[in-house]
């Protein structure tokens, strides 16, 4: 027993010394023996849910990308609004990727579904930071959605809902060729106009993929996808104004090969982004191209090398003909001028297994050029994972990430110039992952990050109110730290669920002002429970709770530690009846409600020494009755 205890102590010591020695760890980390490897590419592990689990999460509306909301480290700006702060990084510093390509928008208007059909998404993972070296240009976290592999036998899905319908077909045309087509079409106006007669919404998206296997090791594919959104309102003067209007299209040609110990992938991408801003009077667009290559070589069982490079160009256009305010026109022309920008980047990383520890050192570098200005970002990252035993592993990571300046709310084509230089994040995390009995897993971790030269006009809102010299373009210093916990049992089991908790603190310093980020929430808790009753009936409930954001106060001294808005709580409910015919065919009727308790959320709170006033919004409640059929 003494020997056992001694060994246990030695293991803890070794784990701790690992942190001291490497000052690192790993959301990015090390390949797990049991991991599924995407063709030719090593797969890092973040936190997330598999597609079949997402279907069971109440409030996620069967949408894999919505399932990131309850993950630890994610702080919602507002319930139902698809803009998230991740470990203190603002929404525009969180990148969303689909099959390695950056998504310029994630969700449709009015908290609608994601812009990619759920049936095309195999899994979604959140890398809250530091994130894998293959990805870059985000001084925050990233969300990675991976597409399903082409089907070996025909499959299809159709979903009919009160506000929109979607369909997917994935069919092999021959042994070597597979075609996947999917899309969504909205008709939400009759329902929307019951609540807001002056509003009008339309959204659509499409995805098309053709995969051709050239040999056992080589395949070529073409993927095209895009989306359109328009949310307008008719004002009292009878004029129609665009509250949210975006379009984007992507087409990518990709060649992949796996041969022996090496694998590589080359892709060429073209795209077009378009957004309307300022009630529709400002139009921005971005015509973009990118060429990218990634390579991996498994040298030995202990050493794997990875590298890649990319070159991209963006040609931005700006339309101001409908702007009636010359000051606003000048501001847009200054921040989002018509221009051409180029960027070139490369990365190199390796996975080295030494004893029981897997180290992943890596570095990437990106050079940006715009209107005669240049910026260089060098991002070193180091992570390590140590398995204490079959059930417990310790991971830690440290890394630097750079990002060009960003606009307050991410919108296709609405990207500011390089003026003022790159944003920079230094991130560090340390986590323990445990496999507990009864297929329960527990992840506990701590993190801290510092954000330099930050363009976060949302997080700086309170500072701007207290100091008129602070504008939307003023840079700030941010830092955050916290503790995260995720206890999970797969929701696909008869009884499954999760408990996700984040305790964090996120601050901003602008000039002489130092105060919490405008959307700093100390406690964020989400818990879900699902049960399969038998006879194809399943039900689930999910509760979400978070504490308030900082109130607006007039004095800088009070703003350092201001009062908070009232905490928010919501309960989501989902139930499904499923009929199955054989192994391939099924039909489901799903009833789901987001915010069943009709709770209203505090949008803003304003305080003086005596009194506080809160402005509330909502209730934002989304009922959904859908029919889903698949084969």
């Amino acid at each position: 027993m003494v020997a056992g205890r001694s060994r246990q102590r030695w293991q803890w010591l070794r784990a701790l010394s690992l942190v001291a020695a490497t000052v690192c760890a790993a959301r990015t980390a090390a390949a797990d023996d049991s991991e599924v490897v995407v063709v030719g590419q090593r797969r890092a592990t973040g936190q997330g849910f598999a597609a079949e689990e997402v279907r069971e999460i109440p409030g996620a509306l069967s949408d894999p990308l919505r399932a990131i909301e309850p993950l630890p480290g994610v702080t919602p700006a507002l319930s139902g609004v698809p803009y998230f702060f991740v470990r203190g990084a603002p929404p525009s510093n969180v990148g969303y990727y689909f099959d390695g390509m950056r998504l310029p928008a994630l969700f449709h208007a009015l908290g609608g579904p994601s812009v990619v059909h759920p049936g095309l998404v195999e899994s979604v993972e959140l890398f809250a930071g530091p994130y894998p070296i293959e990805y870059g240009r985000q001084a925050g976290g990233i969300v990675v959605a991976r597409s399903t592999e082409p089907a070996s036998q025909a499959r299809g899905e159709i979903s009919l809902r009160a506000t929109d319908s979607s369909a997917l077909i994935d069919a092999p045309l021959s042994e070597a060729t597979t075609v996947t087509l999917s899309g969504r079409y909205s008709y939400a106006n009759p329902i929307l106009q019951l609540f807001a007669p002056e509003m009008s919404v339309e959204y659509q998206d499409y995805q098309a993929r053709v995969t051709q296997r050239i040999s056992r090791q080589t395949r070529v594919s073409v993927l095209a996808f895009g989306a359109h959104d328009s949310l307008t309102r008719r004002d009292d003067d009878g004029k129609e104004r665009t509250t949210y209007g975006i379009d984007f299209h992507r087409v990518v040609l990709r060649l992949e090969q796996v041969s022996g110990r090496s694998s590589w992938r080359v892709q060429a991408l073209g795209g077009w982004d378009h957004s309307l801003a300022r009630d529709g009077s400002v139009s921005v667009e971005d015509t973009l191209t990118e060429t990218r290559a990634d390579w991996q070589y498994v040298a030995t069982r202990e050493l794997t090398l990875r590298s890649g490079a990319s070159f991209g160009a963006d040609r931005y256009g700006l339309g101001l003909s409908a702007v009636d305010d010359p000051n606003a026109a000048r501001d847009y022309a200054e921040r989002f001028p018509a221009r051409t920008e180029t960027s070139i980047g490369a990365y190199l990383a390796c996975d080295v297994r030494l004893g029981g520890v897997t180290f992943t050192p890596g570095v990437r570098s990106d050079i940006y050029a715009s209107r005669g200005e240049h910026a260089l970002g060098v991002d070193p990252r180091l992570s390590a994972e140590y398995r204490l035993n079959r059930h417990v592993s310790v991971r830690s990571a440290i890394g630097v990430a750079h990002q060009p300046p960003s606009s307050s709310i991410p919108s296709p084509g609405l990207n500011p110039t390089l003026a003022g230089g790159l944003q920079r994040a230094v991130q560090h995390s340390y986590a323990v992952r445990m496999r507990l009995p009864a297929q329960v897993s527990l992840d506990v971790g701590v993190f801290q990050s510092a954000l330099f030269n930050l363009t976060d006009s949302i997080g700086e809102t309170r500072a701007r109110e207290n100091d008129p010299s602070i504008t939307e373009t003023t840079r700030s210093l941010g830092w955050s730290r916290g503790l995260e916990l995720l206890l999970k049992r797969s929701l696909t089991r008869d009884l499954g669920g999760f408990l996700s908790y984040t305790l964090s603190q996120s601050k901003r310093a602008v000039g002489r002002l130092e105060q919490p980020s405008a959307y700093d929430r100390r406690h964020v808790l989400s818990a879900a429970l699902g049960y399969h009753w038998g006879a194809g009936i399943s039900s689930g409930v999910r509760g979400s709770f978070y504490t308030g954001i900082p109130a607006d106060v007039a004095y800088a001294e009070a703003a350092r530690n201001p009062p908070r808005t009232t905490p928010y709580f919501r309960l989501d409910f989902r139930t499904e009846k499923r009929w199955e015919w054989g192994e391939r065919y099924h039909l489901s009727v799903v009833f789901e409600v987001v915010n069943t308790t009709l709770n209203r959320e505090v949008l803003r709170k304003s305080c003086d020494a005596y009194d506080c006033r809160e402005q509330r919004i909502g209730p934002i409640t989304i009922p959904n009755l859908g029919i889903e059929a698949a084969f």
Binding site: L483, Y555, P562, Y610, C612
Partner: protein
């Protein structure tokens, strides 16, 4: 470290972190502008905004000089003594009642702007006879230039000897000079304003 100790340490750590995360409430002592806003934003109107009110108060110099603190307090106390129902909401903001705390209001105006009493009195006449809004009229009694202030207050004092006139800003003057009350002073007021 034993397992039990480790677990206890973790629980203690979590409790400490949770304590750190408690809502601190408002952390500063009330300032004169806090008192002012507490007294004046009592209508419970939708767009009343305490922080914005304090910010405006500070930026517009409504925070009283030392000599006027007592009179400011007297006015704030008077507002607080009133029943909230006497405060109306106009455009979703609290409007101060035009018939309450008049002595305290005049006393504070006199302290902030010595000699402004007749201006306040003329405002009261305008309120009663013409339906003017006292706070709007009152703010017109504030002057940057002491010379202009002296001339304006003399003009307002002179007007008290004549029947009140209800005229709108920019209304063309059709009367003969001799029919205009306090004509010479009126000309000086206009000249001082650069008109």
């Amino acid at each position: 470290m034993s397992d039990a100790r480790f677990v206890k340490s973790c629980v203690l750590g979590l409790l400490l972190l949770a304590l750190v995360a408690c809502d601190p409430g408002y952390t500063l002592a009330p300032t004169p502008c806090d008192d002012y806003c507490h007294g004046t934003q009592r209508g419970g109107c939708k767009d009343d905004d305490p922080a914005e009110c304090v910010r405006d108060c500070e930026s517009q110099g409504n925070a009283p000089r030392d000599a006027c603190v007592a009179r400011r307090s007297a006015l704030d106390d008077c507002w607080l003594r009133l029943d909230p129902t006497v405060f109306a909401c106009v455009d979703n903001h609290t409007r101060l009642p035009d018939d309450q705390c008049l002595d305290e209001r005049r006393a504070l105006d006199e302290c902030l702007e010595p000699g402004s009493g007749p201006c306040f009195d003329e405002c009261l006449r305008q309120v009663k006879a013409c339906g003017a809004i006292l706070s709007d009229c009152e703010s017109a009694c504030q002057h940057q230039d002491p010379t202009c202030a002296r001339i304006d207050f003399a003009y307002q004092a002179c007007l008290q000897d004549f029947p009140v006139e209800c005229r709108t800003w920019g209304e063309p003057e059709t009367r003969k000079p001799e029919d205009i009350p306090c004509y010479d002073l009126a000309l000086q007021v206009l000249a001082c304003a650069g008109l």
